[in-house]
Each structure stands twice: as structure tokens, then as C-alpha cells.
């Protein structure tokens, strides 16, 4: 292609030379919060003429929140700030040309010959009405091709959303300035890869911070900092909608250890070591954690809702437990994100076995994460009998049948939910403990390819 069209390439180079060179002293730092908010600090040097002057900033985020814009430079005072969305389009061009002259180029269909004439644009309502000499015409009323050539782009039409600041400065000269603003469209979360080794019950965990940019703008060579926090953003109250509660996949006992990472206030910071270009529509990942051989425990858990009775046996959850403690654990606090578990198959290839969401988790916490259903370990819970003993007093007899189709014995944490208030267990086939105020837990051993049964009688208000 290059060889065929040397002329094109030549003209391209000459045209490019006309463009102003990109500002070399442009320095962007981006601080991204975990809730789709970012603080952009754009350091550049500005050329101040002295007196009143209009400064224009292109390449700011297309989703900029104009009310958060602050421009700081020495010896200037800001008169007003504008964020212009009056964008350059063919329709706007024609609208702004009302009362002005444009050039029409007509092409005769039969001969292909071009004729030119000047026309005055009278109106652009529904159709374009032109005055050519003494005639009034409607543009392309006959459907024939007519090119319209405009002399110039009006000053107030912008090719891109542009931030402009009107300043007043007593004295001129080039000086450094910082433009800062908040923008949505930039966010980050953590992604963890946990490889579980079945033979020795150890986890290898890699952590990546994942940064996404859908703000419509590319941030070149930016100094990037990630903050494990979700500061409150001003949201109009009527747009608030309650989010449905997510199924609880992760259970965490919060820890009390302090990590060694950089902190500001109560927040942990994850600076990205090198300057990076955050392109629009890009997902970027940078490693922040790599720990090998963390002891982990594989367990099964089944949580029966109050009066839960199932037609067919239901799968227990496959659960992995480990700590984020410095001793025998991950030894780090974990920013919120997704933990994906992998396991080697018989050929030694890692296969995905499920994932769990975690919240910002302090160091020293005990995590109990579910990856999905266990195919072979099932629980069949049945309400055997319900008897009303009197006013607000019920006796409920429950039976739980547990089965294990695996060729090895397993231990299941059987949980009965919903024991609110002054409920009690009056009889049970094995001793339970209260996992939390309203949850009873039985630790049930099931032999290889075997069964187990737990029965319990509850006295409750409902």
C-alpha cells in the first residue's frame, strides 16, 4: 500500500506538520477509587498573556464533573469556567451559517461538470432555505447532488467536549498550572487467582489490580494510584434504588492485623510503580500480590432455611477456608474483588472450579469462600412434623439426610438458619453449636460412599 501511493503519504506528512505538537510538559496523575470515581490532576504549563484571557483544555475526561474542576496557578484569578458541549456537527455548522454566505458546488448529472455559486443561508428550519442572487431556493429540492462549502468553523463550536476557563492575570508569562477534577468512568477492583493443591491442601494466590477506563478519554503516561476506598459521591436522592442483597458466598471473620502497605487515613493505597497509559475502553492489570503455599482447608457446608424442606437432595456448597494473617496465611489485607479458584486436572492442567466475591478484608481475617455446588455431597432436609403447642409456640421436628458419593470420607457443616429469639433445640441426634445467634451448626462426618442422618427438634415462636 505504501509503495502504491507515495503521493498520499507525502501529503499526510505535510498536513501533520501543521498540527501543533503535543505538549511535552504535560503530566497527569490519576487517583482511582473503588467506586467508579477518579481524581485527575493534570499538571501542565500555561502561557499567560496578562489581563483577561480564555484558556482551553482539551483531552479532559468526556465524563468530567464540571462542578469539581479546580485550576491552580500562581498569580491568576478565575473569572468563570465553562464546559462546552456545543459540538461541531453538520447541522450545527448550517445553523451557525444563517445570514452568511456559503459556496454551492453543483454537479451536472449528464456531464459531471461542476458549477459554483455563492448563496446566502436564510433559514435551516426543517429544510435549508438559500438565497442565490435574487432567487430563493431550497437546498437539494430537486434531489440532485449539491456540495456545500463553508468558509470556516465558528469559534464557539468544538470538535470535542472542551473545558474553558476565563482568567485574569496581572502579569504575563509561562507558568505551571494544575487542573484537577473528578470523573466517573474510571474504576478498579482486585482479581485473585488461587490455585488449590489438593495433595497438600495449599493455595498459591496471585493478586492483580484491574483498572477499567470507560471515561471516553485516554490518559497518557499517567502516574496512577489506586485507593481501596469508596468515598461517598453526591447522588441525587431520587435516583437511589435499594440493591437486592447478594447471595452470601463469602463468610469473613474480620482480622485485627495492620498491613505494611502505604496508608492514608484508614485507606490502603496501591500505587502503580511505573507510569502507564490508560487507554479508553481498556482493561489494565498490574500484579500486587504473589503468595505461595498458604495452608487452606477444604470443607462442605449446607445452610437450610427455616422450615426448608426439599423435594430432592440438594448439593452442599464446596468451601475453601484460609486466613489473611501474616502467620500461616496470605499476610496481606485484600482489596475488594473476585477470587477465582483453580485446580489441576489429571493431566496437570489448571481448570477453573468456581469463584467468590470478597469485600475489603483486613489482614488477619479468616475467609470461608464458597466456589459452588459439590456434585457428590448432598443434603436432604425435611420438616417431619410441625405441631402448634399453643400461642406462639411451635414444635418442629427436622430430619437431615446426608449422602456422600465420593470414595473418601467428608465432613459437612450442616447449618440450620432462622433460629431467632427465644428458640431452643429440645432434642438432637448429635450435639450442635451456635455458629451465630440464629444459626445452629452440626459437624457431620459421612463415610466414603456413605450416608449420615441428623435429627433435631426445635421449639420456636413461629
Amino acid at each position: 500500500m505504501k509503495a502504491k501511493t507515495p503521493l498520499w503519504m507525502g501529503s499526510a506528512v505535510s498536513a501533520l506538520a501543521v498540527l501543533p505538537a503535543a505538549a511535552a510538559d504535560h503530566d497527569v496523575s490519576v487517583t482511582i477509587y473503588a467506586n467508579d470515581t477518579a481524581l485527575i490532576q493534570d499538571h501542565r504549563s500555561i502561557n499567560v498573556t496578562g489581563g483577561r484571557q480564555r484558556l482551553e483544555f482539551q483531552n479532559v475526561s468526556a465524563q468530567i464533573r464540571p462542578e469539581t474542576v479546580a485550576l491552580a496557578a500562581e498569580g491568576i484569578s478565575i473569572l468563570e469556567q465553562n464546559f462546552d458541549f456545543d459540538l461541531l456537527t453538520p447541522a450545527k455548522m448550517m445553523e451557525k451559517a444563517v445570514g452568511q454566505e456559503v459556496t454551492l458546488v453543483r454537479t451536472t448529472p449528464g456531464t459531471g461538470a461542476e458549477t459554483r455559486e455563492k448563496a446566502l443561508v436564510l433559514a435551516t428550519n426543517e429544510g435549508v432555505v438559500l438565497k442565490i442572487g435574487e432567487r430563493i431556493e431550497i437546498l437539494r429540492d430537486d434531489g440532485l447532488p449539491v456540495r456545500v462549502i463553508f468558509d470556516k468553523v465558528p469559534d464557539n463550536l468544538r470538535a470535542k467536549p472542551t473545558l474553558s476557563v476565563m482568567i485574569n492575570s496581572p502579569k504575563g508569562g509561562t507558568r505551571p498550572a494544575t487542573l484537577s477534577y473528578l470523573t466517573p468512568g474510571l474504576g478498579w477492583k482486585a482479581d485473585y487467582v488461587a490455585l488449590y493443591n489438593e495433595a497438600d491442601s495449599k493455595l498459591d494466590v496471585q493478586g492483580w489490580v484491574t483498572l477499567t477506563n470507560s471515561s471516553g478519554t485516554t490518559y497518557d503516561d499517567a502516574k496512577t494510584m489506586l485507593v481501596a476506598a469508596s468515598p461517598g459521591t453526591p447522588v441525587e436522592t431520587n435516583t437511589w434504588t435499594p440493591r437486592p442483597p447478594r447471595p452470601r458466598m463469602a463468610e469473613v471473620q474480620p482480622g485485627t492485623e495492620t498491613g505494611s502497605r502505604e496508608r492514608v487515613g484508614d485507606f490502603y493505597l496501591y500505587p502503580i510503580a511505573e507510569r502507564t497509559t490508560i487507554a479508553n475502553l481498556q482493561t489494565k492489570q498490574v500484579s500486587f500480590l504473589d503468595v505461595h503455599g498458604v495452608p487452606a482447608e477444604h470443607a462442605y457446608e449446607y445452610r437450610n432455611p427455616w422450615l426448608g424442606t426439599a423435594e430432592k437432595p440438594q448439593s452442599a456448597q464446596s468451601v475453601y477456608r484460609f486466613t489473611t494473617s501474616a502467620k500461616a496465611g496470605l499476610g496481606d489485607q485484600l482489596p475488594a474483588g473476585t477470587l477465582r479458584f483453580y485446580m489441576h486436572d489429571k493431566r496437570g492442567e489448571p481448570q477453573f472450579i468456581g469463584e467468590s466475591q470478597i469485600d475489603h478484608t483486613p489482614m488477619g481475617s479468616l475467609l470461608s469462600l464458597s466456589t459452588g455446588d459439590a456434585f457428590d455431597v448432598k443434603v436432604h432436609a425435611t420438616v417431619v412434623k410441625r405441631t402448634a403447642l399453643g400461642d406462639f409456640s411451635w414444635r418442629t421436628e427436622m430430619r437431615y439426610n446426608l449422602t456422600n458419593a465420593l470414595p473418601k470420607p467428608v465432613t459437612v457443616s450442616l447449618l440450620q438458619d432462622g433460629l431467632w429469639g427465644d428458640s431452643s433445640i429440645t432434642a438432637e441426634s448429635q450435639k450442635s453449636k451456635r455458629r451465630s445467634a440464629d444459626v445452629a451448626e452440626w459437624t457431620v462426618q459421612i463415610p466414603a460412599n456413605g450416608k449420615a442422618e441428623v435429627t433435631a427438634t426445635f421449639t420456636t415462636r413461629f
Binding site: V128, L139, I149, D191, I272, Q282, K284, Q285, G372, F375
Partner: protein, 521 residues
């Protein structure tokens, strides 16, 4: 074509095409109901693992992996085997589209090509793109400012510079290598747009005492990317996985909007919209059709099962090609002469009069070796057939849940108009008991018992086994019945035989305490 052009951006880009070993593991949609699979809405996902050979130059480079699935969940991507330090990995969704091309060429030179309608000669005029607002293209030429696609002349834009856009979504890694080297890199990622289901055919013998069970694994790939000669695995069991955080892969069409184009004869259309080009995925409906009843004439090679943690992994015996937008089937199992128990079943709401309804014909067997099974049965759809008199009839299509070894299997194989069940509530007795509480509010309690009759008509020429399940309100239980009772799934169950061409009757009595608060005057 693009590869031959000089690269505009980072000169140290290394593009790695797809080659080498490929492995695809397909997972089913975590929350899909058993059964349905539609190519337009595949809610499952896959783990793609591939190896590529990369020539890594010395220093700071960007390695671009082209041809990854378009449904890639970039945050799950893992790249191992790169030399030196991986500084970051990126996934650029900005692919080469007409609009992206215009956006990327903003302020740069292009050529406007106009074709003379008479001579057909093309005239090229250098121009500069002056706007990158979505699809509304204004260019500057030596004559002035013009809008493209508004004059009615055949016009097109030729782009000269090569924008930093790739033809397919691309995963890249920034790598700092101490020396130039050739590395074997393993790339793995999760991708949307896959799903699978098991499609069973249960063929009941004429005597209804045994059945043959066969199954296909039906898997689909709705990605724009195909995977040729891949080692293919399927994972059974429900795994937690959320894909809703991935933004839909959206390629907007370019709309050229001109000035108002109303004329004296037009309908006063305000805006003429010219679709320059666009990509639309045609809605294609693929539903999985029940496979033929007979076992395949030539026995198909079965997938190989292995345990993966708490899941089941099936390997497709040979490398296979998963084309873009394709549904494919591989054989899961074939079992013959499985002993089954045939019975008729009905679910009844207790203490209610219900008109005659047909019973469900059901077969029961156990997933163990004694019943010629004893293998995990992944969830899917079961199409049941009956053979006899040289004909094969479709009986029913029902879902099957994930069934472990040694679990009971019950399959509904249609309803039987020859077995009708009717319930009649005969009598209600109310015994008032003294109030429990004295005070402002007291409770009036009553012991209520109800007597019901169930009538079963058997018009079949054989004795049948019948199982009736009773749904009773909370706190109500059966205190007497003239048939054997047990419980199933927390409900009272009556099991009885009904002789050929006869009527059978079951009477049962229930009891519960009713309490109503009553305000004392």
C-alpha cells in the same frame, strides 16, 4: 492488510498470532434451568488455555496476543512463561470499526474520494477530519469546510494513517526483558458465550420393565471466534461465576447526520440518517431438538470422566473444532437394559375437593451398578420414548438435575388418562377448647379434624402401583388413613396397588389447631 502497514504507535509491539496448543473447558450457566440452550443467549462460559511462541526483543516491549475470544473476561486472563518482568497486561476493546477509525483519525489527513457520475473517474482531495463527534463527519479541504455524505454525491473517506486499532479484541502485556529470547507462553482466560447441557434419551422397552439411556453433550459457542483443533473438556456441577460485570461487547454503527433536508416535496423529515456501515448480529434462533430415540447405529466414542475437586470433568476423546456460532454434540453415555420400576403418581392438595385429574406415569431407578448405571449424570433434558410394535413414540420431555452415584432417579414419562384421581372433602369436625390466655386479648382455639376421600379409577388392563402425595398446610397432620402412609419430601405419601379395571378408595383424617385472636368487649 493491517499488518503490512507501518505501526504508528509503540515501535516495540510484538504481535503474536494464534497457533500452538489449544484447550477449551466449557462450563454450564450457573443458574440456567435444566434443558434449554439457545445460541443467542448462552449463559455459560469457558476457560480457554493456549500456548504461543513469542520472540521477545530485549528491553521494554508490548506483546500483543491476537485472536482471543471476543467474550473474554479480561480480568481473568493469566499469562505465564514471559521472560523478565510483566509490567502490566491490557485488554483493548477499541477494535477497528468505521467509527473508531474516524475517531482515531481526528485532526489527521484523509482523502475524500468523489466519483464523477458521468465519467466514473475518481477525484481524490486531501482533507483533514475536523470532528470526532459520533459519526458526524466534517472535513476541511483547501476550499473550506464540508460535511461528508451530505451532498448526494458518491463520496468516501480514504484513511492514510494507520490507527492503533486491531481487527479483533486484543490482549497485550508490557514486558521488560533483559535479553532477546524466544519464549513459550501460556495464555488462559475465561470467556462468555459458551454453554453446554446434557441431552438424554430414555427409551422404555415394550414391557416397561427396562429402559436404555443414552446421552449427548450439547455444547455451543456463540463467540465470533472459533477454536480449531482444540482439546475440549466439559465441567459438570454448578460453579459460582458472575459474568454480569463484563460490559457487553458493543460495536456502534456510524450514523452520518446532516443538516435538515426537508424539501418542498418531502415529508419534512428532519434528519436524514445514512447508515454508513454497521455490524448487526442476526437474531438466530437455535433450540436444541430432541435427538432421535434410537441409540446411534455406529457406537460413538464416549467422553472420558475424571474428578475435578467437587466437580466432574469430561474429556472429549479427540481434538475437536469449536467454530464460531456453532452447536456441537459429543456422546456422553450409552447404557442398556436398566431395570425400572413403573408407577403412577399424583400430588394432591389436602383437605380440598378436587375434580378428576390424570395421574403422572413415572419411572424410578437407582443410579448404581445393579441398575446398569452408577455414574454421575449431569443435569440436562430427558426425552423419553417407548418402543413397541415396530414404532417409537415420544412420551415426555423433562429436566434432570445433577445426579450423583447411588441417588434415586425419577422421571415423569407422560400422564395417563386411564388413571384418574378425585378428592372429596367429606366432613369437618370443630372442637372448641378453653382459651389459653385471660386478658384484654384472648385466643379462641379450636381443634379441627377433617375427613377426606380419594377415589382412584384404573382403566388399564393391569394392576398398577400408585403413589399419592398430600400437600397439607403448616401444622396439619394425618391422624388416620386406610392406606399405608409414609413421607416423601416432607409430605404424606400413600402407596397402594389398584387392581386392573377397578376403583380404589382411600380415606384419611387430618387434625390441626386453629387459633384466632378475639378482642374482649
Amino acid at each position: 492488510m493491517l499488518g503490512s502497514l507501518p505501526l504508528a504507535a509503540a515501535a516495540m509491539d510484538v504481535t503474536v498470532p494464534r497457533e500452538g496448543d489449544l484447550s477449551v473447558t466449557v462450563y454450564r450457566a450457573p443458574d440456567r434451568q435444566e434443558g434449554q440452550l439457545s445460541l443467542d443467549d448462552l449463559g455459560g462460559f469457558a476457560l480457554v488455555t493456549e500456548t504461543r511462541t513469542v520472540n521477545v526483543p530485549q528491553g521494554d516491549n508490548r506483546i500483543r496476543f491476537e485472536g482471543v475470544a471476543d467474550g473474554i473476561e479480561a480480568e481473568s486472563a493469566l499469562i505465564t512463561g514471559l521472560p523478565g518482568a510483566v509490567i502490566e497486561k491490557n485488554r483493548d476493546q477499541a477494535v477497528l470499526t468505521p467509527e473508531a477509525l474516524i475517531k482515531a483519525t481526528f485532526g489527521k489527513s484523509v482523502m475524500i474520494a468523489r466519483t464523477n457520475p458521468k465519467t466514473g473517474k475518481v477525484k481524490r482531495i486531501p482533507a483533514k477530519i475536523r470532528t470526532d463527534t459520533r459519526g458526524r463527519v466534517l472535513v476541511e479541504t483547501s476550499e473550506g469546510i464540508e460535511a461528508v455524505h451530505c451532498s448526494g454525491l458518491p463520496e468516501s473517506i480514504s484513511f492514510i494513517t494507520h490507527p492503533d486499532l486491531s481487527s479483533t479484541p486484543t490482549l497485550s502485556a508490557r514486558v521488560r526483558s533483559p535479553a532477546a529470547t524466544t519464549a513459550k507462553v501460556t495464555l488462559s482466560y475465561l470467556t462468555r458465550g459458551f454453554d453446554w447441557t446434557a441431552s438424554y434419551t430414555a427409551t422404555l422397552a415394550a414391557d416397561q420393565k427396562t429402559m436404555n439411556l443414552g446421552a449427548w453433550v450439547t455444547l455451543g459457542n456463540s463467540n465470533g471466534t472459533g477454536f480449531s483443533s482444540a482439546r475440549t473438556q466439559i465441567v459438570a456441577g454448578r460453579v459460582n461465576h458472575e459474568t454480569d460485570e463484563v460490559e457487553p461487547f458493543y460495536i456502534p454503527a456510524v450514523l452520518a447526520q446532516c443538516w435538515p433536508t426537508g424539501t418542498t416535496t418531502s415529508d419534512l423529515r428532519r434528519i436524514e440518517e445514512i447508515v454508513v456501515t454497521g455490524q448487526r448480529r442476526d437474531a438466530m434462533q437455535f433450540s436444541v431438538v430432541a435427538p432421535a430415540a434410537e441409540a446411534p447405529a455406529a457406537p460413538a466414542e464416549l467422553v472420558k470422566l475424571e474428578q475435578l475437586g467437587d466437580l466432574k470433568l469430561y474429556r472429549v476423546p479427540e481434538r475437536t473444532t469449536l467454530n464460531s456460532r456453532q452447536i456441537k454434540q459429543v456422546r456422553l453415555l450409552d447404557r442398556q437394559n436398566i431395570p425400572v420400576e413403573l408407577y403412577y403418581a399424583a400430588d394432591l392438595v389436602g383437605n380440598t375437593t378436587i375434580a378428576s385429574t390424570a395421574a403422572r406415569k413415572t419411572i424410578r431407578t437407582r443410579n448404581d451398578t445393579a441398575h446398569h448405571l452408577g455414574l454421575p449424570l449431569p443435569s440436562g433434558q430427558v426425552s423419553s420414548f417407548i418402543t413397541g410394535n415396530g414404532a417409537t413414540l415420544l412420551l415426555d420431555e423433562v429436566p434432570l438435575r445433577d445426579t450423583a452415584v447411588d441417588e434415586e432417579i425419577e422421571l415423569t414419562v407422560g400422564s395417563s388418562p386411564d388413571v384418574q384421581i378425585e378428592s372429596v372433602k367429606e366432613k369437618t369436625n370443630v372442637y372448641t377448647r378453653p382459651p389459653f390466655l385471660e386478658g384484654v386479648v384472648r385466643f379462641k382455639s379450636a381443634l379441627i379434624d377433617e375427613i377426606n376421600r380419594i377415589e382412584i379409577q384404573n382403566a388399564t388392563p393391569a394392576e398398577i402401583k400408585l403413589e399419592l402425595r398430600l400437600q397439607l398446610p403448616d401444622g396439619t397432620h394425618v391422624i388416620a388413613a386406610d392406606a399405608a402412609t409414609s413421607t416423601s419430601g416432607g409430605r404424606t405419601l400413600f402407596k397402594l396397588p389398584v387392581p386392573a379395571n377397578r376403583t380404589a378408595t382411600v380415606r384419611y383424617q387430618t387434625e390441626h389447631i386453629s387459633m384466632r385472636p378475639e378482642v374482649r368487649k
